[in-house]
Symmetry: C2
Subunit: 196 residues, 2 copies
């Protein structure tokens, strides 16, 4: 027992873990804080001591999802240096994401669908969308196509479409791979029209 590890996670971490599971599975609005503190094995007072309220807890849950997904994307992109492949790697990350048994749609789109949202929650969603927009725009610029904005817009639609279709239809992974195929097609067309 020389190491400091092997201890039970802090109430804060347990609350975040329980929030991630319940908020995502049952929806933000449908999940009561009583269910969260029970699953986390934490007193109600600790929730309000650490987060201040449900809205902040929801925001923290979304921020965690944001960071985790961003990390997945970066890992998938790290395997290549080609700008085109970096774009397509995003759809590989999406394919893995939607293939998980617990996949239940995009956490941010789901949260946004449950109006009304608290201020912190809205901010977390906006942060995610800004990151997504910037990511696609940078990648589009790196490809060297003439209209990088148009390419970024197209990729965003394919990304959102992959997640939405994967949730609503069967064959989640196939939906992501189809989106990847169209992305490759769109990329090629954008390059062709650039050199013209």
């Amino acid at each position: 027992m020389a190491t400091k590890a092997a201890k039970r996670p802090s109430p804060r971490e347990r609350l975040l873990a329980a929030s991630d599971e319940l908020f995502y599975r049952d929806g933000v609005h449908s999940t009561g804080i009583d269910a969260i503190i029970e699953k986390a094995g934490v007193a109600k007072g600790s929730l309000y001591y650490n987060f201040g309220g449900k809205d902040a807890l929801v925001a923290a849950y979304l921020q965690n999802r944001h960071n985790a997904f961003r990390q997945r994307v970066e890992e998938a992109q790290a395997r290549t240096d080609d700008p085109d492949e970096k774009i397509l790697a995003i759809f590989d990350a999406v394919a893995d994401y939607v293939s998980e048994p617990k996949f239940r749609g995009c956490p941010f789109t789901n949260a946004a669908a449950e109006a009304p949202a608290g201020e912190s929650q809205q901010l977390a969603i906006k942060d995610y969308r800004n990151w997504l927009r910037q990511t696609f725009l940078k990648l589009a610029i790196d490809t060297g196509v003439a209209d990088s904005q148009a390419l970024a817009d197209a990729l965003t639609i394919l990304y959102d479409g992959a997640l939405a279709t994967a949730e609503m239809n069967s064959g989640a992974r196939a939906a992501a791979m189809t989106a990847k195929r169209i992305a490759r097609l769109t990329l090629a067309a954008a390059k062709a029209s650039s050199s013209a």
Copy 2:
């Protein structure tokens, strides 16, 4: 006063109108039946007399949305006989849909995001998705491409992507038109690979 019209709509119709506005704007779960009966100007008993419960009212709301959107699609398609144009007309209908000031995402995707859902609600969502799948598949077959299923899958992703991106980003109409552009591209590619 010879005509039978000019009368106040029935409680059932008033409830459906109020449900459509409130369920869509604030979400199914967040909207209480008290808010609906108040907006409809109807006694609470009439709601349960006509619908039996909230779940059935939600299902009726979704069925109304389904029928209304299907009608819009059919009207947009009626302007042409070309199979390709019939496909692209769907995205024109989507463009109009997402351009409305009150647009707040796909009603069915939103409702599905708010777990848990009642049985009738789930059925209504499933009906919609089945109609969507069949519609795209028939259209894809009519184009004469070899892999009509693959084309239908691609169109579904573009359709879902247009609605999702239109909700989460600014420039809703532009998102739908971008989806239409990619649909045209995908259609051309499918035809090219068919003749090969």
